[in-house]
Structures are given as C-alpha cells and as structure tokens.
Symmetry: C2
Subunit: 137 residues, 2 copies
DNA sequence: TTTTAATTTGTAATTATTACAAAATTGAAA
DNA sequence: TTTCAATTTTGTAATAATTACAAATTAAAA
C-alpha cells in the first residue's frame, strides 16, 4: 500500500486528501507514464465509476499550482502531466509517440538567470526516433 | 523590399510562393515576434481583406513540415510560430507574457543521440520573470 | 482558349478546456 | 447526534483552437 506517499505529498502542501485527489496523484506517481486527462479518466473510471473529468481538471490545476505536478506541453492537442521527483527532461518519439524520461542533466538547469531574466521553470523537450523504433529501419 | 528573402526561402523548399504564403512567412520572419494564428490573421487581414484563417493554418502546416518554421508549444491554449534562422531557445515572462529569444547555447543541442534515442528536434522553454518586469518588484 | 491541377476560402465539425451551478460530502459547532 | 457552513465533486453548457471538407478562385498546362 503506497497510499502513504501521496497522502504525505498532499498534506505537506496543504491539499485536502480526498479520495479523488489521492487516486489521481497516485496514478501519475506510480505509473510514471505521462498521462493526458483522458488517460487518467479512462483508467480511474474503472475504480471510481462516478469520477468526473471536471474533478480531474480541477485536481491537476491545484497540484500544478502547488508544484506537486508539472505540465508537459509536448503535444499540440493535449496537455500531459508528470510528477517530477527529480528534475528530468523528456524525449518524444515521433514514431511510437511514447514519451521517455531522460535524466542526463543540461547545464542550463543550474542557471537562475539568463540574459537578465529570472528563470523559475524549465521545459526541455527532445523529439526524434526512440531506440526501439530506430533499430527497425 | 525584403520580399526576395521569403521568395527564396519558399523556392528553395519547393513551396509555391503565393501571395498569402509570402505575406504569412514575411510577417513571421520580419517581426521576430512569435505570433499565434490569431495574431497573424489580425495583422494580415488589414492588407489582404479576403484572407482566410484556414489558409493560415494550411500554410503554417506546410512551412513547418518543410522545416522553414517551427512550432512553439509554450502556451497551454495556442501554438505560436517562429522562424529559426539560427537555433535559439525561448524565455516566456509570466508577468507580461512576452516571449524572448535567448541565444545562449545549451550543450545538449550538439547531441545527436541521447540514451540511445535519435534526436531530430529540440524545444527548450524557460519560464519566469523578464528583466523588465523583475525590476518593478 | 480550354482543361486540369493547385490554392484559397467559408462553413461546419471536432475536441480540449473552462465556467458554472446544483448535489454531495466533510468537519466542526451546538 | 444534529445542524450548518464550507469544501469538493459532478454534470452540463459554453468557449475556443484546430481540423475537415467542399465550393470557388487562381494558376499552369495543353
Ligand atoms: Mn517524466
Ligand atoms: Mn524565437
Ligand atoms: Zn518509438
Ligand atoms: Zn515581463
């Protein structure tokens, strides 16, 4: 039972740990896939039949504002969400559409300022062909 | 008259240089702002009263496919477009919403492969408070 | 000119996201 | 326990960016 983890995450940031919030956060944290709202909904709908998409949107907005989650803007048509326990960058395969975590660190990440601008967030997206799709050439 | 520049850009990539395509590309190349479809439309509508938004969408899709333009996915609700003559990264100010070009280069950009994946595109987005908004604190 | 292909245009359809108010739940006070 | 206000969830409707599509226009070829 890993429920403790998300429970503490929520408590620590003063977000009331409702059943829905726990399940949504738990799904993202445990699966480490980078789900869209629809994917979260399809999956959790099986456990919580009454779950509403609006609740998912509301919850994700709160968790992002509290810096528990981060938005991934790598797709043109939908936002994906991620739990960034340790900061990392994302690689999206054009062929299979999978989004991979990449933990090689970019020196940029240590910059607090750049050309006079104060940096508060980083989004580094790499796009190409993943190693699994590539070898099939 | 800088029309030569966009004319050549289009010819070189075998895109037929229609009036609309020339104007759309010229607007992006000359202004170096990072316009959304709506901004392109509002601006060019004054010159070409009959211009259709669908034409803008069509043209942008072609120019991106030909690697003349690139999409900037820094906003949640709309795509922006850029002419990347020399590769650079983007900084978006949370306060004034301006998107700045940053030409400091990240070593990542020289990587052709990362953790076995073949990299074809880079999107580096920094978010924070720009130098103009910051000093008002 | 006539014919054919490419491009542009306007409208309708699609779809992710947001707005909003009613219903349900929670949690403390009485 | 009951009461009651605050919070959360839910369902539906509205919004808005993008795409689909077919007719109209324009350009190129014959
Ligand atoms: Mn990730
Ligand atoms: Mn730029
Ligand atoms: Zn792949
Ligand atoms: Zn600013």
């Amino acid at each position: 039972m890993k429920k403790e983890k998300v429970l503490n995450l929520l408590k620590r940031k003063n977000v009331k740990p409702s059943v829905q919030r726990m399940e949504i956060l738990n799904y993202i944290v445990e699966n480490k896939n980078h789900p869209s709202v629809d994917e979260i909904y399809s999956h959790l709908n099986k456990k919580i039949a009454t779950l509403s998409k609006t609740t998912i949107y509301n919850t994700l907005k709160i968790l992002c504002k509290k810096n528990i989650l981060t938005e991934i803007l790598i797709e043109e048509d939908e936002v994906r969400f991620d739990y960034m326990e340790k900061p990392h960058i994302h690689f999206k395969c054009k062929s299979c559409n999978k989004i991979y975590d990449v933990f090689k660190k970019c020196p940029l990440i240590n910059c607090k300022k750049i050309e006079g601008h104060k940096i508060e967030e980083y989004h580094i997206y790499l796009i190409g062909t993943c190693k699994n799709c590539y070898k099939d050439d």
